[in-house]
């Protein structure tokens, strides 16, 4: 799961919650400065979103004079279009004429920045930034190939390079097991079905494989789950069975464990592999 996925899922959840709380919101989506649509509703066609971005682009491109755009509010007879900027993320909402704009604005101006701040804090999404232990490359004596006239002393050094590299190679090998795998942020999902073991969580097989690769193929059988309130638990882990959750950044946690950890579906938790 990439950092973008975590952002997208968390923002999509936040957006869904806002829409649940305010049914007067007809359309809502979040896009980045780059034009990438991070989260949105299924009802707004992509074509319309592109045209909306285009319309706002005209304002963004000329807003330097007012210190950049923080918000845009368009009031029409049949409703309102509002854009709120939160750093590089921009939220667009279309509301009906009867909507309570104060309530909607308060909700979005609190909720979205909070989610974004939280994501920034917990962000260092892990696997993406981990230096995968690849086999050390054999040093290339590039200095020999360069046509610049090098004094004989340097040439000698270049030839000696492979010999110098050897101990480094060994050093790297011994360092591999000491890799500390940072926690991965995953979104809590319920486990459905009968006879669900209460001590086992389910994680995407891709994540498990990545962890196993980092631990030189050792099987990851246990993980530590940490909530953002600091509650932790160690439990067994198995791959997710339901294909609809593949690649979604989900951790399926039994209901009983959710109660113990005081978390619920849709919340983020940190998951760390444990090798015994």
């Amino acid at each position: 799961m990439t950092e973008n996925d975590v952002y997208a899922i968390a923002l999509q959840n936040a957006l869904d919650e806002i829409r649940n709380a305010c049914p007067d919101i007809q359309h809502a989506f979040i896009f980045k400065e780059t034009g990438e649509i991070v989260a949105g509703d299924a009802e707004t066609p992509q074509k319309i979103i592109v045209r909306v971005l285009d319309a706002f682009n005209g304002i963004f491109n000329r807003a330097e004079a007012i210190g950049g755009v923080e918000a845009v509010t368009l009031k029409c007879g049949g409703g309102t279009v509002a854009l709120h900027s939160f750093g590089e993320h921009h939220l667009v909402m279309v509301t009906s004429a009867n909507a309570d704009l104060n309530y909607i604005n308060t909700l979005t101006r609190v909720l979205i920045p909070t989610v974004l701040k939280l994501l920034e804090k917990i962000s260092p999404t892990p696997l993406k930034n981990i230096p995968t232990p690849s086999p050390p490359q054999t040093p290339k004596p590039t200095t020999i190939l360069t046509p610049t006239p090098t004094p004989p002393v340097e040439e000698k050094e270049a030839f000696e390079e492979p010999a110098i590299q050897k101990p480094i190679e060994e050093e790297l090998k011994t360092e591999i097991p000491s890799f500390e795998v940072p926690a991965t942020q995953l979104i809590v999902e319920n486990i459905g079905g009968l006879l669900v073991p209460s001590d086992t969580v389910r994680i995407d097989n891709e994540t498990l494989t990545q962890w196993e690769n980092l631990f030189e193929g050792k099987k990851v059988e246990y993980v530590e789950i940490e909530t953002f309130d600091g509650k932790t638990t160690k439990c067994k882990v198995k791959p997710i069975k339901d294909s609809k959750y593949f690649g979604k950044g989900i951790v399926q946690i039994p209901e009983k464990m959710q109660l113990t950890l005081e978390i619920k579906k849709g919340e983020l938790v940190r998951v760390r592999p444990i090798i015994e």
């Binding site: 319309a55 005209g58 007012i66």
Partner: protein, 133 residues
């Protein structure tokens, strides 16, 4: 708005040329008077009043005149586009809030108005004043 533009063109080609233009000018003059008054409100930096025949610009900091004019024009264009995209009917006004300043733009008849305000200035008072027709 397009309808009104069209009707204005039609009137211009007709023989009774003087009367509608006189009405239009009177409205613009009235708006100008109102805008002059609005300019005295707390936090109001200036305004632009534009129609097919004339433009009045009054800004405390004239160095930003062109940038403000282009931005307010872009805002009004975006307003029309967005209103059409989402089927929202008549555009009332568009407020663009920046880090330092905000711009309130609206169209009254053939007149495109933009009021420039400090970030924390009240927009309701100028709006009320403008809509008193």
């Amino acid at each position: 708005m397009t309808k009104k533009k069209k009707s204005l063109e039609e009137t211009a080609t007709s023989e009774t040329l003087t009367q509608p233009i006189a009405i239009e000018t009177a409205t613009a003059e009235d708006l100008k008077t109102r805008l002059e008054e609005i300019k005295g409100y707390d936090g109001v930096i200036g305004y632009i009043l534009r129609n097919a025949t004339s433009a009045t610009i009054d800004l405390k900091d004239p160095t930003k005149l062109i940038e403000y004019a282009i931005l307010s024009s872009s805002a009004l264009d975006a307003a029309e586009e967005l209103s059409e995209l989402f089927n929202l009917g008549d555009t009332r006004d568009i407020l663009v809030e920046g880090k330092d300043t905000k711009i309130l733009s609206l169209t009254i008849g053939e007149n495109r108005i933009s009021i420039f305000l400090e970030k924390n200035a009240d927009i309701e008072k100028p709006l009320k004043k403008l809509h008193k027709f």
